[in-house]
């Protein structure tokens, strides 16, 4: 069977939902020629020629090594023999951790989740058997039916780009035993390793809460090299249960300079590599960029409100889809933090954070009004509850709950003095009027940027985020206050509390806590 197509298309770049719509860009694909041969029920594909308007004759890059090999050797080199007859390959059974993905806004816990794949943190371990895939061949077909037939014959992973009613491009993928793949999305299908739902943002009220999710069901995939340094790359879109990715007519697509078809997904996958990394001292927010299905990285305009894909892929070597310690991944509705294994080795442990709380408790901080010792929740002391009106001497009584006056940082127990309008309170110690909230320890260690925890005497000076009262170290509070994260589809970039996702106060995003030691 030979299909020859030769036409000229103008593609309208996708329209995105809500404010993330892009201006239309015209990309052209000309003179796409493909022949698909079928023999012995095995696909055999010959020359792919995708010719760009700019380059008169450039062949698709997939044809370079892998494609040619697969072509001449009936795919022998491409598809690892993992069938029931052959012995399963145990490449290295020892557990190797690549890194972690932490969803911002959960502080180490995810309530009401009974799904093991939906957690606030996902650990990427080396798989027993590699399951990575890589593109191997590109086909231009006239109808969806032809595309379906092609995929039926070779039920491996594939990406289908519907360009028009008359033209569909299918990129077939082949197994890659050098990589592991991890898929992320909203779908509960087994193809998704890590289920991520939209994060409730406390202060964005009804705006996003009851709306439809903006996270894609098959949002993105991360492919990690199985050998050190375990380079992890992120790609837009994930394969569904039928191992397919579809980019419909409306999706933004183009042919890159290598002649490969590429595109971006509806709400997009944005990444940001913070300047100076996650645990550096002068880290700060960097440019947010969009990742394509093939892993190309594109600049967005200044804010997310008017994103625009630039036609040329950035040549800056720092702008790529390789995840680094601290890279943020925004799925439009949830933001994920990538922590590499190197970074995690320098990050505080849960034990260290508990030690900090115990140390604070041992100082016996006192409420300057009730003169009672304040108690922070640790593993051994259950959290006092606001509702329990237990006896005044109980450790659980509300007046032992550490509260903070956010204007000044004075820490008190819970009491009713100095209530002003809008729930503001006057601090009994300095008379500054402002919000008064409960202090809650940030307990997700992977969100801490501190590195000097190895010395157990080096306990951190407690700070709290404003306006939520999540308590963390000075370094961690300062770091997150400098990092800008896209919020929802319309809220632009803001700094947020990593423990609850609330937008931080523009002025004074954090406050140093002042405790009154017991007398």
């Amino acid at each position: 069977m030979t299909i020859e197509t030769s036409n000229f298309m103008k593609l309208n770049l996708r329209s995105r939902s809500s404010s993330r719509e892009r201006p239309l860009t015209n990309l052209q694909i000309t003179n796409s020629l493909i022949r698909t041969n079928s023999c012995n029920n095995k696909k055999l594909i010959d020359d792919i020629n995708l010719i760009n308007p700019s380059t008169s004759s450039s062949s698709g890059s997939y044809t370079s090594s892998s494609y040619t090999e697969s072509d001449s050797n009936n795919n022998l080199l491409i598809y690892p023999k993992i069938d029931s007859n052959s012995e399963p390959r145990r490449l290295n059974a020892t557990c190797i951790k690549y890194g972690e993905l932490v969803v911002l806004g959960y502080n180490g816990g995810l309530k009401n989740s009974n799904q093991s794949r939906r957690k606030s943190k996902f650990v990427l371990n080396r798989r027993d058997l590699p399951n990575g895939v890589k593109p191997c061949s590109q086909h231009v077909l006239q109808t969806q039916q032809e595309a379906d037939n092609l995929i039926q014959k070779n039920p491996n992973h594939s990406v289908t780009y519907t360009l028009s009613r008359n033209q569909t491009v299918v990129v077939q993928y082949t197994s890659d035993d050098k990589t592991d793949m991890f898929q992320i999305g909203r779908s509960s299908e087994s193809a998704i390793d890590f289920i991520v739902l939209d994060t409730r943002v406390p202060n964005l009220k009804i705006l996003n809460q009851n709306q439809q999710s903006t996270i894609s069901r098959f949002s993105c995939r991360i492919v990690v090299e199985r050998e050190y340094p375990y380079t992890a790359r992120i790609y837009a879109a994930g394969f569904d249960a039928t191992k397919r990715i579809f980019l419909g007519e409306k999706a933004t697509k183009w042919t890159n300079e290598k002649g490969e078809m590429d595109g971006v997904t509806t709400n997009g996958v944005l990444i940001m590599h913070p300047t100076n990394g996650f645990i550096g001292n002068d880290s700060k927010s960097n440019e947010w960029m969009e990742v394509s299905v093939c892993g190309a990285v594109f600049s967005l305009s200044e804010t997310r409100l008017t994103p625009m894909i630039s036609r040329v892929q950035t040549n800056n070597p720092n702008k790529n889809n390789i995840l680094r310690d601290g890279t943020l991944i925004d799925l439009c509705g949830a933001t994920l933090l990538w922590r590499s294994i190197e970074g995690l080795q320098k990050t505080p442990t849960k034990h260290y954070l508990d030690m900090n709380l115990e140390y604070l408790n041992n100082l016996r901080p006192q409420c300057p009004v009730g003169l009672k010792t304040l108690v922070f929740q640790t593993e051994s002391t259950p959290m006092p509850s606001m509702d329990t009106m237990s006896s005044s001497s109980s450790l659980n009584s509300p007046d032992r709950i550490p509260m903070v006056y956010l204007k000044c940082g004075h820490v008190h127990g819970n009491h009713e003095w100095g209530i002003k309008k809008d729930n503001d309170r006057e601090c009994p110690l300095c008379r500054k009027v402002g919000p008064y909230v409960q202090l809650v320890m940030g307990v997700e260690p992977s969100l801490y940027t501190d590195t000097d925890f190895l010395n157990m005497n080096n306990l951190f000076k407690p700070y709290a985020f404003r306006p939520c009262g999540h308590m963390a170290s000075e370094k961690t509070c300062k770091y997150w206050s400098r990092i800008l994260v896209p919020q929802g589809t319309t809220q632009g970039l803001n700094s947020i509390c990593p423990f609850c996702s609330i937008t931080l106060c523009k002025e004074q995003p954090y406050v140093k806590l002042i405790f009154q030691e017991g007398v």
């Binding site: 300057p368 009730g370 003095w417 100095g418 009994p428 110690l429 007398v519």
Partner: protein
């Protein structure tokens, strides 16, 4: 009267007894733990030097959300203290804060003896005298101290 005293009052009392403020003593009444017998010594280099002034201090039900009630029992010639011993001190009124304590209140009263403030008077007559003829006022204050606050108990 057998109801449990709040931690706050217990702790304050304990500390007042264990670490008394120089020149000030405060002792809870045997029958009422919220009523304190107070003695403040006149600060040196003030017209009240050498005097021992008796006060009463009572903690209302709302304490510490409301200020304690304090009154001079010993007669004193002072522009901010009237004939009935009532004291004009902002922290005992609108500037009260529950972070203040019996100890800090008594320290403030002691400081008021060192620095009378005739511009915010409670006893106009005394205040007037203080403004018009300070030397005469101080002389009177010293006389009253000698008369009422020294060895009169």
């Amino acid at each position: 009267m057998s109801n449990l005293l709040p931690t706050r009052i217990l702790k304050e009392t304990q500390r007042l007894m264990q670490e008394p403020v120089p020149g000030i003593s405060a002792t809870p009444d045997e029958s009422n733990a919220k009523y304190f017998h107070v003695m403040i010594l006149g600060p040196s280099e003030s017209p009240y030097e050498g005097g021992a002034f008796k006060l009463e201090l009572f903690l209302p039900e709302e304490y510490p959300m409301a200020p304690p009630k304090v009154r001079f029992m010993t007669k004193i010639y002072h522009p901010n203290i009237d004939k009935l011993g009532r004291i004009c001190l902002d922290i005992l009124k609108d500037k009260w804060s529950p972070a203040l304590q019996i100890r800090t209140v008594l320290l403030s009263i002691q400081a008021l003896l060192s620095a009378p403030n005739p511009d915010d008077p409670l006893d106009n007559q005394v205040a007037n005298q203080w403004k018009v003829n300070e030397a005469e006022a101080i002389k009177t204050a010293k006389e009253w101290t000698k008369k009422y606050a020294i060895d009169s108990n």
